[in-house]
Symmetry: C2
Subunit: 369 residues, 2 copies
Amino acid sequence: MSCVLTDFRPIAARHSIAQRDFRENLTAAIRGEAGLDDEALAALVEKYTVSPDCIERRFIEVPSVYTRPGEADCDVSEAMMDARMRIYDEAACDVLRRAFRPDEPPPDDLIHVTCSGYNSPSPAQRLVSEYGWPSIVTHSYHMGCAGAFPAVRMASGFLAAGALYGRKSRVDLLHTELLSVHATSARQRLDPEGLILRSLFGDGLIRYSAIDERSLPARRSGLRVLSLKEHIFRETLDDMTWRLFPEKFKMTLSNRVPFVIAGNIEQFAQEIFAQVGLEFDAHRADMVFAIHPGGPKIVDLVQRFLRLEDWQVRHSREVLRDCGNMSSATVPHIWERILADRSIAEGTRVLGVGFGPGLAAHGMLGEKV
Amino acid sequence: MSCVLTDFRPIAARHSIAQRDFRENLTAAIRGEAGLDDEALAALVEKYTVSPDCIERRFIEVPSVYTRPGEADCDVSEAMMDARMRIYDEAACDVLRRAFRPDEPPPDDLIHVTCSGYNSPSPAQRLVSEYGWPSIVTHSYHMGCAGAFPAVRMASGFLAAGALYGRKSRVDLLHTELLSVHATSARQRLDPEGLILRSLFGDGLIRYSAIDERSLPARRSGLRVLSLKEHIFRETLDDMTWRLFPEKFKMTLSNRVPFVIAGNIEQFAQEIFAQVGLEFDAHRADMVFAIHPGGPKIVDLVQRFLRLEDWQVRHSREVLRDCGNMSSATVPHIWERILADRSIAEGTRVLGVGFGPGLAAHGMLGEKV
């Protein structure tokens, strides 16, 4: 049994917002609250929001005053937790119905990945019930931006242990990261960190399948899973947090995060290769990377500390530019582009890396097939 | 590779409350709110809370006016979500430190199971970071009372797919169900359902290990995992819900639940046997059951509809009596007692069954070894 990830399908979001328009809408929304004159306010927004050079556009399912100011009646940014979770539930159920047709062959398993909304029954359980599918639902929740890695770990395990539950031929993974549900009120978090976070995240919706490589159709590309590794660093527990508040989920992010990543990334890469008897240095120059672009600096830092060329990290940078940080859905979008890119040959090694609360580094070494 | 669950260790909670004392405390707490004279109030509490004949005692980590009225300064029942999640985090971290010693051999994996508190980093990630362990943390969250089953599915998969991550020898599972964090305010939910829910749930804390059967020490008993099955019924989506509100997580439970369970349990049992080429009817009379005692009626119903003797469901009933409904931690407590019970011979088949939102039936067919 060799586990292959394949058939990556991003799901189109309902709306999008250009970063330039976002900056204007944000400025208008917080004008009355910031206590600054227009010039100072514009300078603040320009300084502390991610530049359109890094993020051109983001996608959104749920409107707020920052993203769809004309639809103020739907504005979620002043809502409380129960209303937001209801909105999440409706939007995510709708995403699932767009992602899966009732007449397609159901997967044996459906792993639902998110850190942005928790309801029981979950949108994945609702889909399976509504479609009358026999698919088994698993939740891979609350793992932040690194959520794809535990989910792939589960999927490869479900395929490998098939004898326990009857043979499995297809495990589907579906990410519904609806960060737009957690839009911050204009009255709150006008500090630099609050402004950065508002400008960084976009909704990320994608499905893909884990199958045994022997079932991979001849002309379809895939990513063979070679090695998975996760590591929690010491004394960095509070550098990234994601917690539940009465109105919404809230993130904090310390400015130490990029340094921890920079200081540990090379050893982490070496270890994930060594785990399956390979040497990172032997592959460093001719492989590609799917680096979770947590912020504009992360890809630059990883590139510098691993001594990589631009082409090796191109898709990481381009996904950030085209979609923003989509939390756990980001790395799968990068994998999708790597598989679609005909300039990346079969046999190329692909190292996926994400960072989540802990701080934890999560990695998957794959091979394009 | 044959996956065995073993070394079940319940973790002692800080406090406990006898159901008789709970009824008194509850009556005192809601007296001013219920708008009833004392006699009517006593009759209401007696009618709509679970009788001490079914639940004698429950365990609690976090005090409320119902469980530790003398410690009103620590009362959680009026707190909002952020305060409750902080309390959850501290209490669960403390449980983990009581459950694992820093000098014991770390597990390869630690699966953290809960539906009662979500923080990032999670208590499991904090433990691994503080102890400097290489253990990989996985969250199995928001699966309600059936949470043990997806977690065992993950654990068996991690053992089976060991080649992907380096060989695994031990996957630990830890349940921290701190339902006491979600104590309902005396001002709210004085309806029958609210009273029932207050009187049913206790905190459940337990760790156990999934290992390859070849590593099972000679004199230690275990539960060999033979078959796992989950099924979501149609048109029962809103019969059990568990959702996030500004102050806390809240449950709803319709009175159709026992009937759905009764109407489907026999077919479900037959299917989980058939999945591995066995016949339920051939084992029905000489096997034992770990039935999640969601409420006082569930064990009675399953017993009746599967035509079982008292001894076959004894541990399910006794765990409910001794600890209440501990959500996902309940079935592991029943497994623990079945393994410790010398009157249950090696080779006995054990069917574990739980019911969660969906409605979903979750089952594990095991064999005592």
